[in-house]
């Protein structure tokens, strides 16, 4: 594999990370909550799709459309039961509550589905296996293109939503000043619930991609969370497009690291993450911009 190929593969990998990270970024941007159960929710989404595929034999992509309303409802429930309460308490509470939730989701999945590793790559059909040989050292996979395109579309749609629609303005207003938002008639609780539902839906999309491009098991959640979080931080917390770029950067770092030694893949990402922390947070506080 040449460097160029590694970078291209890294971009494809990074697009996947960006989708995973998107929901995390939304929840942080709007509610200042880092949902430690985010990765597990993505994995839960993968399992929901899996169950539908097993039951009906439809393509995972179609199954996702069916799974989406389920995940959205779960997102609303999550907000109304756990996150709503934890917003009122201290800063630590959402972290602790979502950490507990993470453990619960992982182990409920373990009970229901056993530790077996699964994948939906086969059921996804030709898209998983097709690729084009661009040059002798560079191949481009259909799945990679699909994920990249979807990632850009998702971020683009979100950007449009936030900048052009009233619902989007309401979300930004609530993110910037929830108290003032209430004063002008915006139901902040409703906004938060919508943000969570959105985050969960996109997380589920990430889960779908995880299931198709790779394997998953009940305990895969934390790994996805870490990568998603790294993407958000590398791109700059509170910046939507930053999350996309952060994801791409993370993906490229990992594939370049793998060039040196396959075992260095995740480690390279961690090192990039830590390096960004040193550079960005060296010397005092950084003010957080709100999601745009």
């Amino acid at each position: 594999m040449t460097i160029a190929n590694a970078v291209v593969q890294g971009i494809f990998l990074g697009a996947f990370y960006a989708v995973l990270a998107c929901g995390l970024s939304i929840m942080f941007g709007v509610m200042r909550i880092i949902n430690l159960a985010h990765g597990d929710i993505a994995v839960l989404g993968a399992y929901v799709v899996f169950v539908i595929v097993q039951a009906t034999g439809m393509s995972p992509f179609v199954a996702f459309i069916v799974a989406l309303p389920v995940m959205i409802v779960l997102g609303y429930l999550l907000q109304l039961t756990i996150l709503e309460r934890s917003l009122k308490s201290g800063i630590l509470t959402p972290l602790l509550a979502t950490f507990g939730l993470s453990i619960v989701i992982q182990n409920l999945l373990l009970i229901k589905f056993s530790p077996d590793v699964r994948s939906l790559g086969g059921e996804a059909g030709a898209v998983t296996t097709s690729s084009w040989q661009v040059t002798s050292g560079l191949s481009v996979s259909a799945l990679g293109i699909v994920i990249l395109v979807v990632a850009v579309l998702v971020f683009g749609a979100l950007q449009l939503f936030l900048s052009r629609t009233r619902a989007g303005w309401m979300m930004r207003a609530t993110a910037e000043d929830a108290d003032a938002a209430e004063l002008v008639g915006i139901d902040s609780r409703g906004v938060y619930a919508r943000a969570t539902a959105l985050a969960v839906a996109i997380a589920a999309l990430g889960g779908l991609f995880l299931a198709i491009r790779s394997v998953f098991d009940p305990l895969s959640g934390p790994t996805q969370l870490i990568f998603a979080f790294e993407a958000v931080v590398i791109g700059g917390m509170g910046s939507l497009w930053g999350t996309l770029l952060g994801g791409l950067a993370l993906g490229v770092a990992q594939t370049l690291g793998a060039q040196i030694n396959p075992e260095y893949s995740a480690l390279s990402g961690h090192l990039l993450f830590l390096a960004v922390l040193v550079v960005r947070y060296g010397g005092g506080r950084v003010s957080l911009r709100t999601a745009r």
Partner: protein, 332 residues
């Protein structure tokens, strides 16, 4: 009106605590080896809970990555034992190494706030875990045993490990106790209550947090050392697992975040749960996770914290009480 540190209750209780420690020292002489091992586990839990509470309860630092130091402690022992150091001195050395490593880590990690700190620590733990996994001398991904311990007969080994655990637990609890009673400790409680207000009063918040972080580094390293010694076989997947953080969070949240006695109560509770539901497995973890979340949402002060609040009770003299003079209003 007087400011009082020692109440009659706390006098009695501190005396009782010292007595308990002395009593515990006799455990290996009285009980069977497997009981001793279980009690060693209890001590490890107490130590972990106390350290996590030191970070989160007194420093406001929620770390989901203390397993980094647990792993360093365990693997450090293997490393030094491999160099020919006698096992138990190797353990002490490994504990020291874990603590020392926490110093440079603190300069990075403490720059982060809240959630970034939490996950940042987790990433650091993962990174260290990967580095260990890559080292063939340390058993790589499959794990390794502290075979040097085989030179001791099982009974003796268990006893020595227990005494080391007792020593570590007493030392770290005592360190925390005296820290909290010192002027430093008061400023720590101020930081916990309102960081910005404390800073505006001149409290050097950053230095205090660093101190707690390093203490927890030593303490979690000590716990890791003991875990390795108590279980004989360690592998990166489990010693660096975020599950240790889950246990710590459970113990401290349920016991009482920010209280001295709470984590000890939480550790005893977790120990009881672990020994009763020996199958362990997913249901037990579901219960732990759900309980931790419930406490975070509904009973944030934990069992002990709530008791303390309701009854104004404090068993160990780590705070101050304002005692009313005649006819004066009593302040909290």
């Amino acid at each position: 009106m007087r400011v009082q540190r020692w109440t009659r209750t706390s006098r009695v209780f501190t005396g009782a605590t010292v007595a308990i420690a002395v009593l515990l020292a006799t455990v290996p002489l009285v009980f069977e080896s497997d009981v001793v091992q279980k009690l060693t586990n209890l001590l490890i839990l107490v130590l972990l809970a106390a350290m996590w509470n030191a970070l989160a309860g007194y420093g406001g630092l929620l770390s989901v990555g203390q397993q980094a130091f647990i792993g360093i402690g365990a693997y450090g022992t293997i490393f030094f034992a491999g160099l020919g150091v006698s096992p138990y001195p190797a353990m002490v050395l490994a504990m020291l190494v874990a603590g020392v490593i926490s110093i440079p880590i603190s300069f990075l990690a403490l720059r982060l706030r809240a959630a970034q700190f939490a996950i940042g620590m987790w990433v650091i733990a993962e990174a260290i875990s990967i580095l260990v996994r890559l080292d063939q001398n340390l058993g790589a991904g499959t794990g390794i045993s502290l075979i040097q311990l085989n030179q001791y007969a099982p009974n003796f080994r268990q006893a020595y490990t227990f005494w080391l655990a007792l020593a570590f637990t007493v030392i770290f609890l005592a360190a925390l106790f005296f820290l909290l009673r010192s002027p430093l400790g008061v400023s720590l409680q101020a930081i916990r209550d309102d960081e910005d207000a404390a800073r505006s009063l001149g409290v050097r918040v950053a230095a205090r947090k660093r101190l707690l972080f390093i203490l927890a580094g030593f303490g979690c390293g000590a716990a890791g050392v003991l875990i390795g010694a108590n279980t004989l076989f360690i592998e990166p997947g489990s010693i660096f697992s975020v599950q240790w953080s889950a246990y710590m969070i459970f113990m401290v949240l349920v016991g009482g975040l920010g209280t001295f006695e709470g984590p000890i109560l939480g550790a005893i509770l977790l120990f009881w749960i672990q020994t009763t539901f020996t199958q362990g497995g997913p249901w037990y973890l579901v219960g732990l996770g759900a309980t931790a979340a419930l406490f975070a949402l509904a009973l944030p002060r934990g069992i002990w914290g709530t008791i303390e609040e309701r009854l104004g009770l404090r068993l160990l003299p780590v705070g101050y009480r304002v005692v009313a003079g005649k006819g004066e209003e009593r302040t909290a």
